[in-house]
Amino acid sequence: MSYAYLFKYIIIGDTGVGKSCLLLQFTDKRFQPVHDLTIGVEFGARMITIDNKPIKLQIWDTAGQESFRSITRSYYRGAAGALLVYDITRRETFNHLASWLEDARQHANANMTIMLIGNKCDLAHRRAVSTEEGEQFAKEHGLIFMEASAKTAQNVEEAFISTAATIYKKIQDGVFDVSNESYGIKVGYGGIPGPSGGRDGSVTQGGGCCS
């Protein structure tokens, strides 16, 4: 499968905020509430199109639990984008954002594009963090912000794609040296639009296409 660019994403945030559900909604377009909790890291991938260019997103869904952080941090290396997720019904997951951000800034590359997501916005009746607070935090820290729901799929597509669009723009603006893979971007060969949507587990199996 060819692509113009491959972007590596990470999804981070407290346990239970819905990281895996967001990923599954984005790659498989379904919501599975009883999906196993994440140990270590899991993967997903999907093709999207930006500016008529096929772009492959390779997404790393990390475990949220605090005590795994010393290990999950090592997965940040070389990510072009990050989705930093909190749960709008659980205040503490919002309170922990600063520490997640610090972790990301320390272990990922400085030009990483970060999208802040207030998840579970379908549960408005149990809201514990207002939209304004989310916006405010994002503004202070230079993040893009969206509220989303992995359950209803609201804003899920948008969150992943607008992150990609931002990264793409940075490439156009010459922010990255795209030949340096530590930025989490790989240049594909061909650039012919490939099939979009759906999970793609063939990256490592097939090999070749991206090295």
């Binding site: 140990i39 010393s70 490592t204 090295s211």
Partner: protein, 688 residues
């Protein structure tokens, strides 16, 4: 193919008679009582079962032991068992013999799942007066005492056997049947002596003394178990091959062992020493054959590619890899290990004896009820816990027995406890569990409001149990009470061990235990025992995990230096890609049933307390070629390893890990410092 000839027993009047009477197959269906349908749940099939087959330990009729003889087929391997009847049981013992031997002496004679590949020959005796009996001689030179068929049926036995293994009448003695023999008369004789050249086109899995050609069968066997990673190099093959160069120590030892083996009867000794005498004669030819073997191309009939040249290729690629040379700061070390063959040879000759006992040993069928009973004395003590652990290491446990056996493996029940003691313990523990559980149950809402730690823990556990194995029927569906039990047990545990508390991964470890125990208190205490060992995996500072990852790195350095060199070069030496494997004992890498099988094998701590680390090495080694050739970086490797989930063949990996564990030998200690989980913490040790 000359196969027809090979199988041909038409010159045997008994065989002909049995054919005319109806095939052995239909006959054995009559005898097969136990097997419910053709295949038992765990993939074993009883192909022959005969009651009232007896051993006569002494000349006294009162001491004869009756039992059931069975041939069991598992995968493509055939096993023979002879289990004596329980004394108390009212089986039709026949011949009015009143048995006086104590239970434990009776059990001495039990034949526990001997693979037919370990059988060299069978001598049939059909006296005109008295019972028919057979004597089986093993490739090791040992012989079982005569098995008397009180109800007849020797020919059916041979006919059934013939359908599953190569059985050829000896040229020298019409009553001797050679098992797994070859077409060529010279080789046939060699085979009967189990000289290193001779193991042939057997259609059964390899045994400890079989060679490369049999591995190919073995491979196809594993492949039929739906593994498609299997064709790559495995260490077992390599070492199995190199065994050709050394003498078969089992044979050298056999005479000595025979003298000590009190069960060998006069008849068996005659048969055996006859064969051993022959073996002296053929020794020279055998030696010549062996040399030929080393120089000429490897054995034919390779189904899954030729392991020798594959290994050579493998080696060449690694040596000629420029990256490798740059990568290896410690060039000498790399070179030594790149010559995997060399390393193996060295150890091979040093520890030939050990290896011959274990190498390529086919996995046994899981331990079943009848056999389990033989491990217990009248009061329920496990007399020989090591033998039990060994048995389980090689075959696991039937599901129905897990509830009982796991309690011993986990250390909740002591091997030496009696039925009565265990019953007492259970009652005590049940009330102790209730007491601890009550500690959190009695926390009032008002109290909870001022107990943040408790609330936090409770909500974390509640969030996790609903995300644990919900696709397994035992836990699926809304409001499943078993999910509630998971929660209660974990919460109770977090009070029992408040310092450790709760950490993700624990629910994965508890889930199969509760599934097996089906009892809240027992599952709790088994989990407690497991956490005695695995607790450090969940320490906040992750030191338990780090020490295991470090040990793994050292093991890989020792057992697969080319891979280690590559990983150093790729900056992957932290082995974080194995994190999930180790944290929850491969729980996410296998389907549920296989996880349980693996765990019971690990929990035997039979060859090593750290067998899980050898599992890691075995899997990595299997994919080493791909990892190096594709120049996987950390991300790619992590993704690759993650995606191996559910594509790892358990039985083959266990065999490879077993081999690696033996190769590691004394170096284990250097690689794995004391106190590394899941060892119990050392006194005043590193990890507490």
């Amino acid at each position: 193919m000359q196969e027809a000839e090979l199988h041909d027993l038409s010159d045997d009047p008994d065989y002909v008679a049995s054919q005319q009477q109806g095939s052995g197959g239909s006959e054995n269906q009559k005898c097969t009582r136990k097997s419910n349908g053709p295949t038992e749940p765990n993939g074993s099939e009883v192909v022959y079962s005969k009651d009232n087959v007896a051993i006569h330990p002494t000349q006294y009729a009162s001491e004869r032991i009756s039992g059931r003889l069975q041939l069991i087929k598992r995968d493509l391997s055939l096993f023979m068992t002879w289990i004596p009847y329980k004394q108390s049981a009212s089986y039709g013992v026949g011949q009015g013999s009143r048995v006086k031997l104590p239970e434990k002496d009776r059990n001495l004679y039990t034949i526990r799942a001997v693979p037919l590949t370990d059988v060299r020959s069978i001598r049939r005796h059909t006296p005109t007066l008295g019972w028919q009996y057979i004597i089986m001689v093993l490739t090791s030179g040992l012989a079982f005492p005569p098995l008397y068929f009180y109800n007849g049926g020797v020919r059916e036995f041979l006919a059934t056997l013939k359908q599953h293994v190569f059985l050829v009448r000896s040229a020298d003695d019409a009553n001797v049947f050679l098992v797994n023999d070859l077409q060529d008369p010279l080789q046939r004789s060699l085979s009967s002596l189990e000289l290193p050249r001779a193991v042939p086109v057997a259609n059964v899995a390899s045994s400890s003394s079989s060679l490369a050609s049999v591995h190919s069968d073995d491979n196809s066997n594993q492949r039929s178990n739906a593994d498609y990673h299997d064709s790559s190099f495995s260490p077992t093959e390599s070492v199995g091959r190199h065994r050709q160069k050394v003498r078969d120590p089992a044979r050298d030892l056999s005479i000595q062992v025979l003298e000590k083996f009190s069960l060998v009867t006069k008849f068996a000794r005659e048969t055996t020493s006859h064969l051993l005498r022959e073996s002296q004669i053929f020794d020279n030819i055998g030696g010549y054959e062996k040399q030929q073997q080393v120089h000429s191309s490897p054995v034919k009939n390779q189904v899954g590619g030729d392991p020798v040249s594959q290994e050579l290729q493998d080696k060449n690629q690694i040596i000629s890899d420029p990256l490798e040379k740059i990568a290896c700061r410690n060039g000498k070390l790399c070179e030594a290990a790149a010559t995997l063959v060399g390393t193996f040879e060295l150890i091979d000759s040093k520890e030939a004896e050990q290896q011959s006992l274990v190498w390529g040993k086919p996995r046994l069928p899981p331990l079943g009820h009848e056999e389990w009973a033989t491990f217990l004395d009248e009061e329920g003590r496990i007399v020989d816990s090591k033998a039990l652990r060994k048995r389980i290491f090689y075959g696991g446990v039937e599901h129905g027995l897990r509830k009982e056996v796991w309690k011993f493996l986990l250390g909740y029940n002591e091997f030496h406890s009696t039925y009565a003691e265990r019953e007492f313990l259970e009652t005590m523990k049940r009330s102790e569990y209730e007491t601890i559980k009550h500690q959190w149950q009695s926390i009032s809402p008002a109290q909870a409001r001022r107990f943040a730690k408790f609330k936090e823990r409770k909500s974390l556990i509640e969030k996790d149990v609903v995300r644990t194995d919900r696709s397994i029927p035992f836990y699926d569906g809304d409001e499943n009470p078993n999910v509630g039990l998971l929660r209660d047990i974990l919460l109770t545990f977090s009070f029992y061990n408040f310092d450790l508390g709760y950490c993700q991964g624990m629910s994965d470890l508890l889930s199969p235990i509760l599934f097996v125990m089906e009892d809240e208190s027992e599952a709790f205490w088994c989990f407690v025992s497991l956490m005695e060992r695995l607790g450090p995996n969940f320490n906040r500072d992750q030191n338990g995990m780090h020490s295991q990852l470090l040990a793994l790195s050292k093991l890989v350095e020792f057992l697969d230096s080319p891979l280690h060199c590559y990983l150093r070069q790729a900056d992957c030496l932290n082995f974080f890609f194995c994190f999930r494997w180790i944290l929850i004992q491969f729980k996410r890498e296998f389907v549920y049933e296989k996880t349980m099988r693996l765990w019971e094998v690990l929990w035997t701590h039979y060859l090593s307390e750290h067998f899980h680390l050898y599992m890691c090495v075995a899997i990595l080694k299997k994919h080493r070629k791909k990892i190096i050739e594709e120049r996987m970086d950390f991300d790619t490797l992590l993704k690759f390893i993650n995606e191996l989930s559910c594509h790892i063949t358990l039985e083959a990996t266990l065999k490879d890990a077993e081999a690696l564990c033996i190769i590691a030998g004394e170096n284990k200690a250097a690689c794995i410092p004391p106190g590394t989980p899941p060892s119990l913490p050392v006194e005043g040790g590193l990890l507490e």
